[in-house]
Subunit: 215 residues, 2 copies
């Protein structure tokens, strides 16, 4: 495993730049400046240059970046040169919404198994999937080579589901349950808390337009 | 409106610290060190100190922070000393999941109106709300003093809904549609893209444990 010391916020922004570049490429744009990337995603041009500098030398002074090259490079860094099958625990409203979430598929992520313990949900069809009992998750993880799990179950069931995922060797978990899960150190959890986004908004309703870049 | 120049990532972390402090307070903890906050939320102690330093002097050397005081202070900075009624456009799976999302209510956010143009959804009950036609949104915004809108409609309808929100003076929008919305400069959009979280995970599956703090 390679070493690459970068702030997590840089990785987050790299993912956002990468998607923006993809959109430019789809629209036939071949060259882009750091200023245009900055404006497209809402950060400062200096921030774009600083973030990209973590990963090497890009672009030519006065010419900018080659869109296709930079897009491919960002996807390589983000480990998106392969498909990522995922296991989803929880087939409620959130789980159902995640199964139909278009952005996942566009970036190579695919929920290939949906699991629930609720007898009223097992057997239900969501898109081209059928909700399976949670006990069948280990077998599907193995068969499909899954390395990423998504937890969208009620809070009370979240730790138990995380334990099951860990026992079955998943090393990356996206957790929607509002709880801090206990997992071994070699398992990475990413908690999605939608209130955080709202609180950035309310902060801005008070102190508008006062961000500075992180340099 | 006050001026406060801080990186957006600091505001995001402040929201996370604030929630962590709330949990400590609920559990009867009265004092906490920057190291304990850091461990609880997964950043470096120096990052915690640096983030808090943007907002003033806190804590006593060797004693740490008073949990209740720091919690109240973070909530004040985040503009959470008042309730925030919100209008939600889109009553599909995602919209329904958002209406039942517990984290919102815990922080004073409340969806007080759900709107959709789909005749099969209008009139549907979600929790204690009834889905209303989109054309009734302006009236509800006015009556309830709403300042935050949430967009959870299909991509093709997102810009039109954003325009409607802007015309009705909403200045903060949380957008789940995978599209860059055009809004006037005085309106703040926060795009929620769940793939970004996944891409931080896949990056880590390649370059594990190599983050550095942002100092």
């Amino acid at each position: 495993m390679k070493t690459l010391r970068v702030p997590e916020a840089t990785v987050t922004r790299l993912s956002i730049y990468s998607r923006f570049l993809e959109r430019l490429d789809r629209n036939g744009v071949t060259s882009v400046s750091s200023g245009e990337i900055a404006e497209g995603v809402g950060v400062s041009p200096a921030q774009v240059r600083k973030d990209l500098a973590y990963f090497g030398e890009f672009g030519t002074r006065g010419v900018g970046y080659n869109v296709k090259d930079l897009m491919h490079y960002t996807m390589k860094i983000l480990n998106l040169t392969q498909p990522w099958p995922m296991a989803l625990a929880g087939a409620g409203n959130l789980g159902t919404a995640l199964c139909t979430y278009r952005n996942f598929r566009e970036r190579g992520f695919a929920i290939v198994g949906v699991f629930d313990n609720d007898l009223t949900k097992i057997g239900k069809r969501i898109e081209d999937l059928t909700v399976q009992p949670l006990e069948e998750m280990p077998q599907v993880i193995k068969q499909r080579g899954i390395r990423i799990g998504i937890i969208a179950v009620p809070t009370r069931a979240a730790q138990e589901v995380a334990d099951l995922m860990v026992r079955n060797h998943l090393k990356a978990i996206l957790n929607f349950a509002p709880i801090a899960l206990n997992v071994p150190e070699d398992v990475m959890i990413r908690n999605v808390d939608l209130s955080v986004s709202l609180e950035v908004l309310t902060f801005n309703l008070k102190y508008r337009g006062t961000y500075e870049s992180e340099e």
